[in-house]
Point group: C2
Chain length 370, copies 2
C-alpha cells in the first residue's frame, strides 16, 4: 500500500503498473527526447546529474528511449526550462523549481525556502510527507509532472567583497541570489538579482553586483568567484537542502509506455543519492583549495541569521494572500518542517555534534577550522 503510494508520488499522481498484475506485453517504441537544463556543462554535478538520468534511461530500455541533455542556453535559456516544457517545445527538462517563483511563489517549496528543511528532511517531505501530492496541482497548472531528481545539500552563503558583520552591511548590497530568497533578503535591504550561472562571474567582476551566491565550494570554485570576492560566508540560510527536478510535459508523460515511465522514475530517484553524494565527496577538497588560495571563510553572525529568519516568516505569512497554491500547501509543509526539526535534534544532530567536534578519533589537524 505504502509502496504503491510512493510510486504514485514519484509520478506526481500518475498511476503506474505493478508486477502483481503483469503488464500486457507492450512494444518498446524508439523515442527520442530533448532535455534542456538550467546548468552550464562544466557543472558536472548539476548538468552531470541530468546527463546521468538520460544515460540510465537509455540503459534501462536497451537504448530505445533516448534522452539528450542540453546545457543552459543551448536550445532553451537556463531560466526558461519550465516554459519550454509547458509549451511542448521540448518533452522534458531538468531545473530548479524556485527559478519560477515569479510565476507562483509556491514553486519555491519545490526546491528550498529560507530556514526550511535540510536535504533529507526535504526528501522525507516530498516522498512521505505529502509534498509530491501537494505540489502536483501546481506543476499541472503548468502542464508538467515533476520528479525529484537531485539535491545540492546545504549551500554556502556566497561571495562578498566586504565583510558582512550585521544587517547594516547588507543595506543596498546588490546581490545575485537564487529563487525566492530574494524576497527575504530584500526585507533586509539587499537588492536581489536573478542571474543565470554563466553570467554571474562577469557581473561580479564588473561590479554590476557586489555579492553573489551559487551553490558551494565545488561549483563555486569552477565558476571562479574567489578571484573577484574575498569573503565566503556560511551557511546559505536560503538553501538548507535544495531539490532539483525533472519536469515532464504531462501529455508526453501520459503517452509513454509504463516501463519507460518507470525508467524515468527510477533514474531520477537514483540520481538524488548520486548528486548529493558527489557534492558531499567533492566539497571538502574544493573548500580546502579555496582557503589555501586566500578565501576568507566567515560564518554569518547570529544577528544576521535572526533578522533573516524573522523576515522569512513574515514573507511566508504574506504569500498566502498572493498564491492559492502557497495558501494550500504552506500550513502542512510548516507542520512537517517543525516535526522534522524536533526529531533531528534527538539522534542525528546529537550524533553529528558529538562526532564533528570530538578530538578522540580525529587527527591533530581536525582542531583547525576547514
Amino acid at each position: 500500500m505504502e509502496r504503491r503510494s510512493f510510486l504514485k508520488k514519484a509520478a506526481a499522481g500518475v498511476a503506474v503498473g505493478t508486477v502483481a498484475a503483469p503488464a500486457i506485453a507492450q512494444s518498446q517504441p524508439s523515442i527520442t527526447w530533448r532535455m534542456p537544463t538550467s546548468w552550464a556543462k562544466s557543472l558536472d554535478t548539476l548538468f552531470g546529474g541530468a546527463d546521468y538520468v538520460c544515460k540510465r534511461v537509455g540503459e534501462l530500455t536497451d537504448g530505445k528511449f533516448q534522452i539528450r541533455a542540453f546545457a543552459a542556453g543551448e536550445i532553451v535559456p537556463g531560466l526558461q526550462v519550465l516554459d519550454a516544457v509547458q509549451a511542448g517545445t521540448v518533452e522534458i527538462g531538468h531545473t530548479a523549481s524556485y527559478y519560477y517563483f515569479g510565476k507562483d511563489p509556491a514553486f519555491g517549496l519545490g526546491t528550498s525556502v529560507s530556514f526550511g528543511p535540510n536535504a533529507r528532511q526535504n526528501h522525507a517531505w516530498w516522498h512521505f510527507g505529502g509534498g509530491a501530492e501537494a505540489m502536483a496541482p501546481l506543476y499541472k497548472d503548468y502542464g508538467c509532472i515533476a520528479l525529484l531528481a537531485g539535491d545540492t545539500g546545504c549551500q554556502m552563503g556566497g561571495w562578498y567583497r566586504k565583510e558582512i558583520k550585521t544587517t547594516a552591511d547588507l543595506k543596498g548590497l546588490k546581490m545575485r541570489i537564487g529563487g525566492m530568497a530574494g524576497l527575504i533578503v530584500a526585507k533586509l535591504g539587499v537588492v536581489p538579482q536573478n542571474i543565470a550561472a554563466p553570467d554571474i562571474y562577469p557581473a561580479l567582476e564588473k561590479g554590476t553586483v557586489d555579492a553573489a551566491e551559487w551553490v558551494g565550494p565545488y561549483d563555486d570554485e569552477k565558476l571562479g568567484f574567489a578571484k573577484v570576492a574575498k569573503y565566503y560566508y556560511y551557511p546559505g540560510f536560503w538553501e538548507g537542502g535544495s531539490m532539483l527536478h525533472t519536469l515532464v510535459n504531462e501529455k508526453k508523460w501520459n503517452e509513454l509506455p509504463k516501463a519507460y515511465q518507470a525508467a524515468l522514475q527510477a533514474a531520477c530517484g537514483e540520481v538524488t543519492t548520486w548528486m548529493l553524494a558527489k557534492y558531499d565527496a567533492q566539497n571538502p577538497g574544493a573548500l580546502r583549495r579555496l582557503v589555501a588560495s586566500g578565501t576568507q571563510l566567515r560564518p554569518f553572525s547570529r544577528q544576521v541569521l535572526e533578522a533573516a529568519e524573522k523576515a522569512a516568516y513574515e514573507v511566508y505569512d504574506e504569500l498566502g494572500a498572493k498564491s492559492a497554491h502557497w495558501k494550500r500547501i504552506y500550513p502542512d509543509w510548516k507542520k512537517f518542517r517543525d516535526e522534522q526539526f524536533l526529531w533531528f535534534r534527538v539522534a542525528e544532530h546529537t550524533y553529528d555534534t558529538y562526532c564533528f567536534n570530538s578530538k578522540v578519533g580525529q587527527p591533530a589537524a581536525a582542531g583547525k577550522k576547514a
Copy 2:
C-alpha cells in the same frame, strides 16, 4: 568519465553498457529470482525497501525479471543471507553487511562503524570516495557483488531497564547490539549478544538480555520494546548512518542481460533515498507516541560517549592485524571520514544547529524536548 566511473562503482567493478555505443538488441529473457532478507515482514522500511527493489525491477522489465523478497527465516535465517547468496542457494539477498563481521571485520565498514560517517557521508564514501571499489574484493571473496540499497539514518542507542549514567552502569550489562559494535562495547564491560529481530523482544522480556537496540522509534515501536524497558537512549553511536545492501551472486550477476543489471542498479539507487525518507518521515510521530506512553528519553552522557569512542579507535587499530581487508581499506576510509567531518561542520552543521534551536520560526511547543 565520472559518471561511467559511478556506474562501475554501483556494479562494484562490473562494467555496464552505455547509450553512446547502442546495445545490440538482446533478448529479454524471463528470469525468476528469490531474495531472502534479514528483516521481519512487519518492518515496512527494511523489508519494504527490499520489496520495493523487487517491484521496481519488475516494472522496468515489463515483468520479465521477477524477484521475490522473503522475510527472515522464510527460506534463509536472517543472519545467513550472505552465506545463501555465496552458496548459490539463492541468487540475491538484502541484508546489512555488518552482520557478517565475524567472517571479516571489514564487513562492518559496509554498514556503519561506531563514530563513523553519518548517512550522507557514508553514501559519499561508497559512491565517490572509493568505498564501493575498496569493498568489492571483500564481497568477491564471498562470491558476491554488493549494491548500496537503503539506509536507516542515525539510529537510537537502545532500550534499557535502568539508567545508564556512566560507563560503570554498563559493566556486566547483557545487551543485544548489532554488528561489530559488540567488539567496542565489550571493552566497556557490556556482554554483547547478536540476536535477529524477531527474537529480541522475548529475550528482553524474559531478562535473557538487560538491554537491546534495533533501529529507531518507527521500527522499535513496532517491535514493542517500550513495554519491557523504560529508558530510551540516544544517539546510537555505533550507527551514525547504517547502509543496507543488495548482495548478488557474482556468477548470476554476470549472466544477466545488461539492461537487467541496470534495472537492479537503478532500483537499488532509488531505494536508498526512499528508505531514508521513509524513516525520517515516520520517526517523529513514533517517538512522540512512545514518549506519551511513558518512555523516558535520555542522552548518553559525555563520559559514556568519550569512553566508547576511545574504545572504538583502539579496536580499529587492532583489527588491521586480524583482517587484510580491514588493513587495506581502513586508512583511506578514516581519511575520508575526517575530511567529511571537517566540511560538514561548515555549511550543514551550522545550518542545522541554527535552525533546530531557533525559536523564531518554531511553534511554542518546539521549546520542549521531543
